[in-house]
Symmetry: C2
Subunit: 388 residues, 2 copies
Amino acid sequence: MTEPTRASSADAGGIADQLDAHDLAEGSRRLSGQVRIVGSGLLGTSIGLRLRQHGVDVILDDVSPAARSLAIDYGAGRLPAQGDQPTLVVVAVPPDVTASIVARELQAHPEALVTDVASVKVAPLVELRALGADVSRYIGSHPMAGRERGGAVSARADLFIGRPWVIAGHDDISYRRAAAVEDLALDLGATPIEMTPDEHDAGVALVSHVPQVVASLMATRLAAAPDASLELAGQGVRDVTRIAASDPALWVQILGANASRVVDVLRELRVDLDGVIDALDAPEAPGARRAVAEAIGAGNGGVARLPGKHGSTTQFSSVIVLVDDTPGQLARLLTEIGEIGVNLEDLRLEHSPGAPVGLAEVAIVPDQEQRLVAELERRGWTVAGAFA
Amino acid sequence: MTEPTRASSADAGGIADQLDAHDLAEGSRRLSGQVRIVGSGLLGTSIGLRLRQHGVDVILDDVSPAARSLAIDYGAGRLPAQGDQPTLVVVAVPPDVTASIVARELQAHPEALVTDVASVKVAPLVELRALGADVSRYIGSHPMAGRERGGAVSARADLFIGRPWVIAGHDDISYRRAAAVEDLALDLGATPIEMTPDEHDAGVALVSHVPQVVASLMATRLAAAPDASLELAGQGVRDVTRIAASDPALWVQILGANASRVVDVLRELRVDLDGVIDALDAPEAPGARRAVAEAIGAGNGGVARLPGKHGSTTQFSSVIVLVDDTPGQLARLLTEIGEIGVNLEDLRLEHSPGAPVGLAEVAIVPDQEQRLVAELERRGWTVAGAFA
C-alpha cells in the first residue's frame, strides 16, 4: 500500500531498479570519488541532493555565495575546501556562460572529467575548442528534465528519475573516460541516450525549440482576442499553447544558442505556412482544396511518428467518460477500470466551461474498447464517446 | 457508489440538472412537437438518440438510405412518413452542402424552424440569403462536441453533455422563434452560448481552425526527422501536435468555409514568425535577443487569457508525482489526494520513453501545495517536482 514507486520488474541494472529512492542503498551507486557541481540552480541542486543520498562527497560552487549557501542549506553538498580533488565536475550554469566555466574547470582540475547540462551541445564544444580547452576530458550532456526553472527552492532529488539524459560524445574523448557521465545519469535514475552534439541539437530544435516558438506564436494571437472568442476555446488550443507559458529569459538563451538549427526548421515551416495561406486566400481556385488537404494530411504522418508510451507507436482507442468534478469521482473511475481489468494507457481531463462536470478521456488498447464501454455503462457511468 | 454522473448541486434549470441521463424523465424535456433530422452522421444520430430518450418523435432522413437505416437501427429516430409536420428541422450535413439543404427544408416545411450544426456560421447564412430563402425561420448553431468523425457507429446520446452549443442569431429572426434551438441544446445537455455568426466564425478561426493549421504544420516537420530526434520528444511537442491527427477531408471543408478569417490570423502569425526568423538568423545582432524575448513573452500573455476550469483564469500549482504504470497506482494516488482533502483541479500523465513508470502532474490551488507534498511524501509517494 505504501510502496507506490517500487517497480514490478526487477531485472538487475535496469531502470526498474532505480525507481525507489528508499531502496537505493549507498552501495548500489556507480560513481566513486568527489563530484564538484558548479551552479546551484534547479538542476545543479537537484543533482547534488540525489548524489548526497548515495553518499557521494559533493562539492557545491556558485558565482553567487548566497545561492550556494541556500543549496548547501538544502543538503545538496558542501563548500569547496583546500585539497579537493573531484573526479567529475558538473557545470550547471546558463547556456551562454557554459563554455567559459567548463574551460575554467578543465584547467583548475586537470585530473577531472567535466560535463555540462546545457540544453544545446554543439555551441559549447565549438567554443571550448576555440578556447584551446582540453576536450579529451569534456563530454556534454543534457538531462531532459522538464521545467528548467525554479532555482534551488524547487530542486528535487527525484527530478531526473525516468527522464532521458543525452550524452553527446565526440571523437576527442575516449569511451572509457566518458563512462563517468553515464554513471552519473544512472545514479540519478535517468535513462542515458548517446548521440552526437549535432544529432542532439537538430533533435531538440525539432522536438523542443521549434514547438516552443510555434506555441508562443499561436498564443500571441490570443492576446488581443475578444472575450467571446476565448469562451469557445476547447482542449485543442489549450494543448497547442500550453508551453507558451515558458520563461522568456531562459528561451532567449536556448533559442540563441541553437539559432541556426531552429531557423532551418522554421524556414521549412514558413514555406508550408505560405502554401496554406495561398490556398485559403483563393479557396475555390484549382488545387486549393488539395493543397489544404495535403497540409493536414502531412501533419497526420508527422504526429504518427511520435513514440507513444514505452516508446511504442501503438495507436490507442479513446473512451470518454463523464465525471463529477471531484477527486473522489476520478479515483473511483480509475479503480473501477482496474477492477474491470483494462490497462489504462493514458488519461486526459477536459473541463467544460461553466459546467460542474468533466470529461475523462481514457486511452486503452483498441481490442478492449467494447468491453470497457459495456462494463462502465453497466456500473452506471456515462460514456460520452468512444473512438479508435 | 453507482451514481457517478449525478451533480452535487441541484438548482432548478441549471446545468447540474442535465447531467444524469437516467434522471431525465420525459416530462422534463423542453422541446415539443416533431423534430426532423437531416443527416445521420455522428452529430445527427447523436441528437436523435438523445431526443428519443426524451420521448421526442424524431424523423430521420439522409441522402444515403443505407446510412439512414443504420441510424434508425441504432434507435435514433424513424423513417419520414406522409403527414409529418416537424416543428424543428436540424440539418447535420457537411459544411459545403449545408446551405442548400437548409434552403430545401425551409421550403418543404413552411411552419418549421430550421437550424444546422455546421462548424462555420457566416457562409451558410450568406448563401441562404443569396438563395432567397426565408431566413426568418433559420438560425444556425454549432455544438462544440469534440471529434466530428465516426458516423452513426460512433454516435452517443450523451455526446453533447456539458459542451458549449453556440446559437448564432441574426436580425431577421425573432427571439421567440429562436427559442426552440436553445431548448434543443438544453434537452441535449449542452450549454447554449449566444453570439453573432461573425463573432462565432472569428472565434473558431482563432481558437480552433488556426490552432489546427499550426499543429499540422509543426507535425509535418516531424515526418522526415531521424528516429534519434524523435526519441527526445517530450510532453511539449506531443501537446503541440496532438490535434494534427485530425481528418484532412473534414478540415478541407471547415478551413475552406472560414477561409478569409483563418487567413487573417495566419497572416498576423506569419509576420511574427518572420520576426523570429530574422532575429535567429543573426542572433548576435542588436535587438535580436529582445525580439526573441518579446515573441516568447507575448505568448505568455496570450496563453494566460485562456479560461481555466469552470471558466476561471486562476493559476494553479503543479505537483509531479511518480507512479507505476498501472491503473491501480493512479487510482490509489487520486484516492489518497481525496483523503488528504485537496481538490484536484487538473491531471496530466507523462510517460517516460522506455521506463515502466509515469509522472502524474496534479494541478491544485497554490495554497494547498506544501501540505499536499508533505502528506504525499509521508505516505510514501515520490514527488518529482512542485511548481507554482
